[in-house]
Amino acid sequence: MKKNIKDILFIFITIGLLFLLSIYILVKPVNEKSVEENRFLTSFRNLKESSFLDGSFQKIVEDSYTDQFPKRSYLVSIKKKIDDVSKNMVLPKMTELTLNRVSGQTINRLGNTSYMINMIIEATDINKERFKNRALEINDLQTRHPNVDIFVYVPTQAHETSLFDKDSGITAGAPELWQIFEDNIKVPFKRFDLNSFDLYKQAYYKSDHHPTHIGSDIFYNEIMNLIDSNIETLKPISTDCHVGKTFYGTFGSRTGFIYEPDEFCVYHYDVVPYDVYLKGELAPDYTYRKDFESFDPKSDNAEHPYYYNIAYKVYDSSEFEHYDSLMIFDTKRPDLDNILVIGDSYSSSVIDLIASHYNKTFRMLPYNEVIFNGKMFDYDNFIIDNDIDVVLFMYTAENYYYVDEWADRYEQTRILPNGGNK
């Protein structure tokens, strides 16, 4: 082959590829959302709101080329697979209970499986102090409100257990921290006994830290038994498994292991009808959860556009596009008690089930009270003002100690007299 022809061929193919890609990105239908990352993608449409001088125009153009690149998710997953193969070539064979760190310091895969968990909690002095303080704060709340029944339930996560100690050569700190809490707490307290890997696999997703429908059902039954051992809990009347409809949990989206998504099922219960109130107003009907097939994960619900809320079985105010710390579930049965559930996303997964046992169920996310309303939650006045009979603390260990780059979750969830106001 003549040199000229070879050069022409090379130029034609390479420059041609760049031209074709460039034109294709400009003319193809815009991809608006990334299911895997749970975020909106940038496109050239966003240029309308940009300025060249402040650099936002340039940023949108740069991001648009990356975000709108054809088969973007597929290319990311190819890269991750290659990375995984590279690592496993040199890493000794692991058991499934060996912590295999990914994404820097924050997430562990379990051996070479697809399961991922948070970093192991350490029993540092500050953590010990915080676990003890939280117990004392709850005791104080009980002392200030002797007519209210207070309960503490902890949905134990994998990184709080000793399941990985032996194979990973570590000592998990959480058992010691929970022992400190248990030694100090004076109200009824229970932790989900996550004592085997098999149970973990049933109760939690692979790519996310939230519970599956089975995990949520376990939590619900254990909570109601903690409150009243004679209570008759709701049983699932049907199971709705969404085989082939996958979702990518937060671990998946943070680590980029998006080629191993989760499939999920949802239990349906015969719950007592209720109205939901947000910011004092009746929330719109939320029926798509009951009719999954009509739910369009790419168009419904701006903030959580994908399967998250259904997969997590989560009721969350953001689903109604009301960002608030408080949701009220009202079954309109004034003869029953009112309950205040102090929670996080884990409590959201059981809140409608708990609501079936009460007149009014107040679900408060205290950290959101700080984030959205700029103040600490005032337990004392809330209990009095809303005629609360039962208080249930049902949030994860993170609320007992956690500090990250965004916030100090422990400080946000302090239980101070009158919300810290003198």
């Binding site: 130029i11 420059i15 590829l17 760049l18 290319l75 890269k79």
Partner: protein, 459 residues
């Protein structure tokens, strides 16, 4: 805009090629090149566009003045003007806050893109006119293209006017130079995207996320080697990109790297590393100071001035000055001791050279002297486990192939093989297929990666 961004590859480059090659007229092509260069600069820093316009106009007129009057005063004015701008934008805060401690807080000064490169280029232009090595450029468009031409504007090489003065007026854009430039561009893209960016993940983790008391011998070596390779592939990759693009437009820049890591001596290393900068310091600082044809004391002084300035050029901080002085001292030791001592055992001298530049890069990349010492201590005194789990726990073990590729690629082995294959038509096609696969892999990684800036970008 980075050459290694999709917006450049799929947006700026195709548009530039269409606009440039659609016109057959030389003047139009030069105007288009100027407009493209202004757009390229404005894309990155629209707010400092005024500065580069002033710099171009000033140097254009002062250059003509120097030629007309042949008066040293005009040269001095030119040098002071260019150096003052560099000093203000790059070193003002360092001198006032860090060195003299006159102020407590930094002033909010934006470092204009490429200022270190175009300042040196302009000074060499003015000095060459004064020394009658070249004539002043009378055509403002050609001069603007010399200063601002986008392939070399932001991160070099420091192209001298002498090198491209004829090509500014007329050049031969042909199939051969275009395809060669394209091939070179893809090689640079692969160096930057495939190797440097991945090695940066390793070195950033070890240098910036591992505390000094957690550092082990394994981590110190992996971090040091990764950074040594990263900075080479990053910078030489950028030079390849610049040389390649320039070639596509008919310009021939001189080489900026010549396999520096195979150097047998430290002196040779600096003849192979960032050649345009080394030669700039030689021609415009070292030789005017008297070079080596002076007394030994004066020579040592000259050497230290050059190396302190070399360090300072790379960044306004004490570690960069230390890095420069480190090489000044090493070159002294090499000249007076090592060359004699190791004359008969060159392999030992070469190994020592490798260790010297690895330590040099540790100084270059460290935040503090304590970090430098911790790295050196851990590298040479065995400490901690050699288990690969330590790398896995940092989330960087999967990147080991890039170190391996980096080590092989910093020698001429692959280039020699490709040159050999290129001599036959059929195997030449294999080389092109290999380059095409580098382009595809680079595209995949660009889609994958977040925005990563060039290390040398703001120097």
């Amino acid at each position: 805009m980075l050459f290694s961004s999709l917006s450049f590859l799929l947006g700026f480059l195709p548009v530039s090629l269409i606009l440039y090659f659609i016109s057959k007229n030389r003047l139009y092509r030069n105007i288009i090149l100027f407009v493209l260069s202004v757009s390229f600069y404005a894309w990155g820093e629209p707010k400092t566009l005024w500065l580069i316009i002033i710099v171009i106009l000033f140097n254009y007129f002062i250059g003509i003045k120097i030629e007309d009057k042949n008066n040293k005063s005009y040269l001095l004015i030119g040098i002071i003007f260019n150096a003052s701008l560099l000093f203000f934008f790059k070193y003002f805060n360092f001198f006032l806050v860090d060195l003299l401690q006159i102020r407590q807080e930094y002033l909010n000064i934006i470092l204009p893109l490429g200022i270190s490169f175009y300042t040196f280029k302009n000074i060499s232009y003015l000095a060459d006119i004064y020394n009658k090595k070249t004539k002043a450029e009378k055509n403002l468009l050609n001069f603007s293209n010399f200063v601002l031409m986008f392939p070399q504007f932001i991160a070099g090489p420091i192209v001298r006017y002498e090198t491209i003065k004829e090509e500014l007026v007329d050049r031969n854009e042909n199939l051969q130079s275009f395809s060669d430039g394209l091939r070179r561009f893809i090689i640079g893209l692969g160096k930057k995207i495939i190797i440097a960016n991945n090695l940066a993940i390793i070195s950033d983790k070890i240098f910036y996320e591992v505390s000094l008391n957690e550092l082990t011998t394994l981590l110190a070596w992996v971090g040091a080697i990764s950074y040594t390779l990263q900075i080479y592939y990053d910078f030489s990759g950028y030079s390849d990109l610049a040389i390649g693009i320039a070639k596509m437009f008919g310009f021939n820049f001189e080489e900026n790297f010549n396999y520096p890591y195979i150097a047998k001596t430290v002196q040779e290393f600096w003849r192979r590393w960032h050649i345009s900068l080394s030669f700039w310091f030689r021609d415009y600082i070292y030789i005017p100071l008297g070079g080596s044809r002076v007394s030994t004391i004066r020579w040592v002084f000259n050497l230290f001035v050059v190396w302190a300035l070399t360090g300072l050029w790379h960044g306004a901080s004490f570690t960069f000055i230390l890095w420069g002085l480190y090489f000044g001292i090493i070159l002294l030791i090499e000249k007076f001791i090592l060359k004699k001592l190791l004359k008969d055992i060159p392999i030992v001298h070469q190994i020592l050279t490798i260790l010297i530049f690895i330590i040099g890069w540790i100084i270059f990349n460290s935040n503090s002297i304590a970090q430098v010492l911790a790295f050196i201590k851990n590298m040479f005194i065995i400490n901690g486990s050699f288990s690969l789990n330590a790398l896995n726990n940092l989330g960087i073990l999967y990147l080991w192939p890039y170190i391996l590729i980096g080590l092989i690629g910093c020698t001429p082995i692959i280039a020699n093989l490709l040159n050999k294959l290129n001599k036959k038509p059929v195997t030449g096609l294999m080389v092109d297929a290999y380059l095409f696969s580098i382009l595809i892999i680079s595209l995949i990684l660009m889609v994958n990666s977040s925005y990563v800036t060039f290390i040398y970008f703001k120097f």
